[in-house]
Structures are given as structure tokens and as C-alpha cells.
């Protein structure tokens, strides 16, 4: 009898160990596969941006977008990841110490997020660590997404290296600070204000959109965009089908983006042993995303169609539908999603035209679709979701719940974290002569001047290109 109990105990231990290995490998694979899905966001932004560009600037726009991706990811490795772990409690704690969950603060960041010294063991191959690389990879793609968002607004007149510097500041600093404050269980926006932003409407989209606005104010419009009387001309991109297909690819990529926002169960870093959660430890399933993402896409398309009848704005509406609901994809019912996404789809074009009337030449509507709709989504969750607990079951007593005030404060912080760094870095680049492409080059075309390749046969030229 004792032998049988001993044998069964050993078998149970072996089965338990095997189950843990399976869970760990599943979690590692889950986040790993979210990374190539998010690369599709960049494929989409590449097509979107190039399609919205005139023939004479197509390849320059593509180069700019590719470099945003590359430099953002490299600098996110060098220092961006460190900011995420170091700053959640700053400036509430000026020394940036650890928060209640003890996974934040400068000391913690120094131990896990620097590519040198002892912490380097968590920044490279390590058979005992199946989490750091895939989490880092997913976050790096979030970072690159912010740069891609801003990229489209600035096409056809921003210098390449100047833009790369903007992309580094946005992707490896500005949005990372927003994530540390509002997308971390120890973040002060979460613990002090109950800020909730499951799918990063504020901390990715609003930050990137308003960063673009800050840059646009120093960059100025494309040559020929505005007439002497202040009225705006429509500068048509060379390939609307490419743009629309690009937008659809962005939507596909967002399924990867949003699945990576779920914390899987059963690991040392999980909130629970048996259920998925948001990054705040509140309950969440992939199944909820199954309902809500596709409904958000549909609502956005329908709302944009009824106002614009234009496929560009309809696909932009699809994206706006996701962004408007992203903060509360974990708590909204399907009918909430339909209403919010449809309204978002309806307001994007009027908002973009209002901005254009102020002299801001946003070539792809990024400030509106990501910035304005991102803030809209954050605040709307405060209206529908007030009173929902802000953190999961292991949170400290007295944790602040979601509220309209907390979401409003979060929205203001996201606006400032985008706009202020964008304005300052572009102002400095402007003073250094590294921001705006000279007018003669804009008229001739950026590709003939600085790209040793040709996008299309020479019979295809922009009608406004000078020989």
C-alpha cells in the first residue's frame, strides 16, 4: 500500500511538472506569436502611408517608416524597457521606489532591464526565463507602433534623420512613461486615480497622435497644401487601394496587439493560477476580445460610411472603432461597443476637417484617428465604467475604482505626454535645421533627390513634379 502511494505520488509530481512545462511553453508561444501579428501593423502602416503619398515621394515615405520601426526597437532595448519598470511610482515617489506589487522602481529596473551587468541575464538567452524575451518583444512592437502612427501624419516634408530622432523619443520614452504610469499595477495613475486602459487607447494611440500634433506645429504643411487665403487644397495620395489594404492589415495586426494585453494564468508572473487577466489583474478572456474587437471594427465602418461614403474614412473608422473601445474591451458589453464605435466612426472626418481648418496638415488623419479618438475612448470608459474595481483580487485595500474623474485625469496626462515631448524635440530639430525638407526638394520630389531607386516606371510621375 505504501509503495503504491509512493508510486502515485511520484506519478502525480511528474504529471504536475509536465503540465507546468506545457503551460510555460504555451504562454511563451502565445506572446511570441503576438509579435509577428503586430509586425502586420507595420506592414499595414507602410502600405497606408505609401499609398497616401504622391508618386514622387513614395519610397522616401517607406524608408522613413522602416527606420522608425528599426530605431525604435533598438533603442527600446537599450533604454526604453528600463523606463517602463523604473518609473511607475514617479513622481508620486520622487525617488522612484518600488510600488505595492514590488515589480517596479529604479532598483527593480536595474536588476532586470539593462543590457549590461547582472541584469543582462534577463535581456538575452536564458533557459530558466521563458517570459522576459517575449514580453520585451511584445512591448517593443507596441513602441514601434507608436512611431508608425506618428509617421503617417508627417509624410512628404519631414527629414529622415530628424524623423528618426522623433520616433526614438516617442517610441522609447514618451509612450513608455505613459505605460509605466497607466499600464502597470504599480503605476500611480492606476493606484491613485483608478485609470484603466486595457487596450492602450490612451497610452499608445493618444500619446502617438498628440506627439504627431506637437511635431506638425513646428514642421508646417506640405508645399501647396494651403492657399494664400488660408483655404486648404486636397493632396491626393497616389494609390487609395494600397492605403485601404494597408488599413485592413493594421486591423489584422491589432488582434495580435490586443491578445498581448492579456496576462495568461499559471506562471510565476501571472496574477492567478487558473484564469487570464488584464495587466491590472482584473478578469479578462480572449473570448471577450472575440466579441468586442470585431464588433468595434464593424461599428466604426458603419459610422464612417454614413457620414463620408469614402473607403479611406470607412477603414479609418474601422481603426477608430477599435481605438474608441480599447480602454474597456475587457468590460464592455457588445452593444456598448456598437454604440461607441459607430459614434467614433461618425466623428473622425469632421474632427480631421476641423484640424485642417486650423492649418494643421495631417496627411493621414493620425492626430484625429489616434489622438482625438484615443482620448475619447479613455473618457468614455469613465462614463460607462465608473465604479468597476481598478485592480485585481490581490490589490491593496482601498484601491481606487474606475471613475470619470480618473479617466479624465488620465486623458490629460496622455495628451501632455504626447504633445509636450513632440513639440519640444521637433522645435529643437527645427532650430538645428533637421526637421523640414527644403521647399525646392519638396517640389522636385524626395525620391529623385535622396533615394537610389525608383518606385514605378518612369512614365508615372506626379503631375506637380518639376523636371
Amino acid at each position: 500500500m505504501e509503495d503504491q502511494i509512493l508510486a502515485l505520488t511520484e506519478q502525480l509530481a511528474a504529471v504536475t511538472n509536465a503540465a507546468q512545462v506545457t503551460n510555460t511553453m504555451f504562454a511563451e508561444t502565445y506572446y511570441f506569436l503576438s509579435i509577428p501579428l503586430m509586425v502586420l501593423i507595420h506592414a499595414g502602416f507602410l502600405l497606408y502611408e505609401m499609398g497616401q503619398t504622391r508618386v514622387k515621394n513614395v519610397l522616401s515615405s517607406g524608408i522613413k517608416n522602416l527606420l522608425a520601426f528599426a530605431f525604435t526597437i533598438v533603442t527600446f532595448y537599450l533604454f526604453g524597457w528600463w523606463f517602463y519598470w523604473a518609473l511607475p511610482t514617479f513622481p508620486y515617489d520622487l525617488a522612484s521606489g518600488a510600488g505595492y506589487m514590488a515589480i517596479s522602481g529604479i532598483e527593480y529596473a536595474n536588476a532586470i532591464a539593462l543590457p549590461w551587468g547582472d541584469s543582462a541575464q534577463y535581456m538575452g538567452p536564458n533557459m530558466g526565463d521563458h517570459a522576459s524575451g517575449v514580453f520585451w518583444g511584445a512591448f517593443a512592437l507596441f513602441a514601434a507602433t507608436t512611431a508608425s502612427i506618428a509617421s503617417g501624419a508627417l509624410i512628404e516634408r519631414i527629414q529622415t534623420v530628424g524623423f528618426v530622432i522623433c520616433a526614438i523619443v516617442l517610441g522609447s520614452f514618451a509612450w513608455v512613461v505613459a505605460a509605466a504610469w497607466g499600464w502597470h499595477a504599480d503605476g500611480w495613475l492606476v493606484t491613485e486615480f483608478g485609470f484603466h486602459d486595457f487596450g492602450a487607447a490612451g497610452l499608445v494611440h493618444a500619446v502617438a497622435g498628440f506627439f504627431a500634433l506637437g511635431v506638425l506645429m513646428n514642421l508646417g504643411p506640405r508645399v501647396g497644401k494651403y492657399n494664400d487665403d488660408g483655404s486648404a487644397n486636397k493632396i491626393v495620395g497616389h494609390n487609395l487601394p494600397l492605403t485601404v489594404a494597408g488599413l485592413m492589415l493594421i486591423i489584422v495586426g491589432f488582434f495580435g496587439f490586443l491578445m498581448a494585453c492579456i496576462i495568461l494564468p499559471g506562471e510565476a508572473w501571472s496574477w492567478y493560477a487558473d484564469g487570464g487577466t488584464t495587466i491590472y489583474g482584473t478578469p479578462m478572456t480572449l473570448s471577450a476580445l472575440g466579441f468586442n474587437i470585431v464588433l468595434a471594427c464593424s461599428g466604426g465602418i458603419i459610422g464612417a460610411w454614413i457620414v463620408t461614403k469614402d473607403p479611406f474614412w470607412m477603414m479609418s473608422g474601422c481603426l477608430a472603432g477599435i481605438i474608441a473601445t480599447a480602454s474597456g474591451l475587457d468590460v464592455y458589453f457588445g452593444s456598448h461597443i456598437i454604440i461607441i464605435a459607430t459614434v467614433a466612426g461618425m466623428i473622425i472626418k469632421p474632427c480631421a476637417e476641423w484640424l485642417e481648418g486650423l492649418g494643421i496638415d495631417d496627411a493621414v488623419g493620425a492626430v484625429t484617428i489616434h489622438g482625438t479618438i484615443g482620448v475619447f475612448g479613455v473618457v468614455v470608459l469613465g462614463i460607462f465604467g465608473s465604479g468597476i474595481p481598478g485592480l485585481g483580487a490581490f490589490a491593496p485595500e482601498g484601491t481606487v475604482a474606475i471613475s470619470l474623474w480618473g479617466q479624465f485625469v488620465g486623458a490629460v496626462v496622455m495628451f501632455l505626454l504626447g504633445f509636450v515631448p513632440g513639440y519640444i524635440v521637433s522645435w529643437l530639430l527645427h532650430k538645428a535645421g533637421m526637421l523640414r525638407v527644403p521647399e525646392a526638394v519638396q517640389i522636385k520630389g524626395l525620391d529623385p533627390v535622396k533615394v537610389p531607386a525608383q518606385a514605378y516606371p518612369e512614365v508615372m510621375v506626379s503631375p506637380d513634379t518639376e523636371a
Binding site: 543590457p115 536564458n126 529622415t160 534623420v161 526638394v441
Partner: protein, 61 residues
């Protein structure tokens, strides 16, 4: 420089891999030096890239 172990056998004990960095230079200072070199390379590339870009604009002003 170099790998820190002569055999993977010593890194696999009691049915599990040892929890440590397993890359060239792990446990030493060389990863930090390579990080520094990579960072300097990126800065130089941006400087050179900007110089080339300004030259191309100057030719077409």
C-alpha cells in the same frame, strides 16, 4: 569573450536547466562593452546619415 561553459551537461542539473544567462560573455563584462559599442555605432550612423541627407538637399536647393 568566449562561452562560459565547456559542456552543457554542467548546466543541466536535477532535471532542469540552471536559471542564468546562456550567451557569449554571460556573467562577465563583455555584454556591457558590446552594448556600448552598439550604442556608439547607432549614434555615428545617425550623424553620418544626417550629413548625407543635408548634402543631398544642398545639391538641389
Amino acid at each position: 569573450m568566449g562561452y562560459f561553459a565547456d559542456s552543457f551537461t554542467e548546466l543541466y542539473a536535477d532535471g532542469a536547466w540552471i536559471d542564468m544567462g546562456m550567451y557569449i560573455g554571460a556573467g562577465g563584462s563583455s555584454p556591457g562593452w558590446y552594448t556600448l559599442i552598439a550604442a556608439v555605432m547607432l549614434v555615428v550612423i545617425l550623424v553620418v546619415g544626417n550629413k548625407g541627407e543635408q548634402d543631398s538637399y544642398d545639391k538641389h536647393k
